[in-house]
């Protein structure tokens, strides 16, 4: 903190990735490039071209996190089969800042709105803009792809992100990639898109 004095009581800010970044106790497992890997409790599988690192920390019971160079430089998250009535992430501040919940009747555009609202709350920022919401496929199912950018207080870097989401059998499937706008997002997004194309979803 700083020598700043606040007008009202402050709830200690969660920095970018604060909720998602694993504590020092997280362990890693290599995902081998070229091999099919199960993700998100075997509800999904994916065949990446290169090696990734998977964290033992989970962003929610339905998700898992991968990175190439560390979460502050690139973060790829997979969420599979989130049931209706559940939030995307673990709901850490249920009382003060509850997260919005997925509902199975949502439209594809609603998924982008759910994602935006969730991340604004988690990151405590209003500088979060979703752009280019477009139709796509996820494992052959109708899906939505959207790009976004955001910045958080106390950090001078803008971050770019892209996500693909779909509702399959009433459950939410989501893959999201985020990285600093300088260099890292552009360097990796093509690989990530190719990786998303290999996703298969178990019935």
């Amino acid at each position: 903190m700083t020598a700043l004095r606040f007008f009202g009581t402050v709830i200690v800010a969660v920095l970018a990735f604060g909720l998602l970044s694993p504590p020092a106790s997280a362990t890693w497992k290599v995902i081998d490039g070229g091999k099919k890997a199960d993700v998100a409790k075997e509800k999904m599988s994916v065949t990446p071209k290169q090696d990734w690192n998977r964290s033992s920390q989970r962003p929610s019971p339905y998700g898992e996190l991968w990175t190439l160079d560390g979460f502050s430089l690139n973060e790829l998250s997979f969420f599979a089969a989130i049931p209706s009535g559940k939030a995307i992430y673990y709901n850490y501040q249920t009382k003060n800042r509850p997260l919005p919940k997925f509902k199975s009747k949502m439209l594809l555009t609603d998924l982008a709105e759910l994602f935006e609202s969730t991340n604004r709350i988690v990151l405590q920022t209003s500088l979060f803009d979703v752009s280019s919401v477009e139709p796509t496929k996820l494992a052959g199912h109708d899906a939505v792809r959207f790009q976004y950018e955001y910045a958080v207080q106390g950090d001078e870097l803008k971050r770019n992100g892209e996500a693909v989401a779909a509702i399959i059998n009433g459950k939410l499937y989501l893959v999201n990639f985020v990285a600093p706008a300088i260099h890292y997002f552009d360097r990796d997004i093509v690989k990530v898109r190719a990786l998303i194309d290999t996703i298969e979803i178990a019935n």
Partner: protein, 253 residues
Amino acid sequence: MRKLLFIAALFSVVSPAQAQFDLFGGDNSPLYSSKATATKDGFTFPSTASETKIVIIRPDIFVGEQSTGGIDRLNANWTKTAREYLAAETSKLLISQGFVVKNLQDLEDGGDSLLVEYRALFKLVSNAAIRNDLFPAKGLPTKKGKFNWSLGKGASKLGDLGDGGDYGLFLFSRDSYGLPGRKALEIIGLAKGLEAKPTPHMGYAGLVDLKTGDLVWLNVNVRLGGDVRKPDGAATRIEKLLAKFPKRSGAAK
């Protein structure tokens, strides 16, 4: 006690730079007394025949005093003079090795956001490198032993800011000197078998190739010598921080 200090710290001054050292964990971390260096595989400077220009990015410096209760207060005079001494000693050392040096001191108000952004990116990249490569105990398995980190080609814009620099040198140092009460506490505490966390004297330096944006060399030392408040101390500090700085080609490795 720790918890109380933590609550107290919410209202006190803690350097934003301190966050940089979160990666060393608490005082129980085995990293606490570590130092490490890495150079990108096969990296050498271009031959001595051509001019090689290093842009020294305004060093990120904190020099403070630590109270008995462990609260650091930045000392404005020490910090300002240390920044000057360290930049001057860095220039001196690099010039003595045959480099051309440009100090990119201060881009004040209205100055380019570019420098601010790249400094922030350097912080992320160097911390990731430190965590995963230099002290890889809990690092990413795919990055262990491979020193390949980059800020991207856009870093060449930093070279333009420095009138055509070939490399950018980033320096970070953090020092705190215990006030008499702090020292007394350390001594008494030791007599009781309690070890107070030593006052910090730590820093790192990183060299970026401004054509590719690649981090070509990084040195971290969390127990640095040299009193940065004095010119000869600053010289000692820079010698340690730039120890194992890559040699120019032709010179012995």
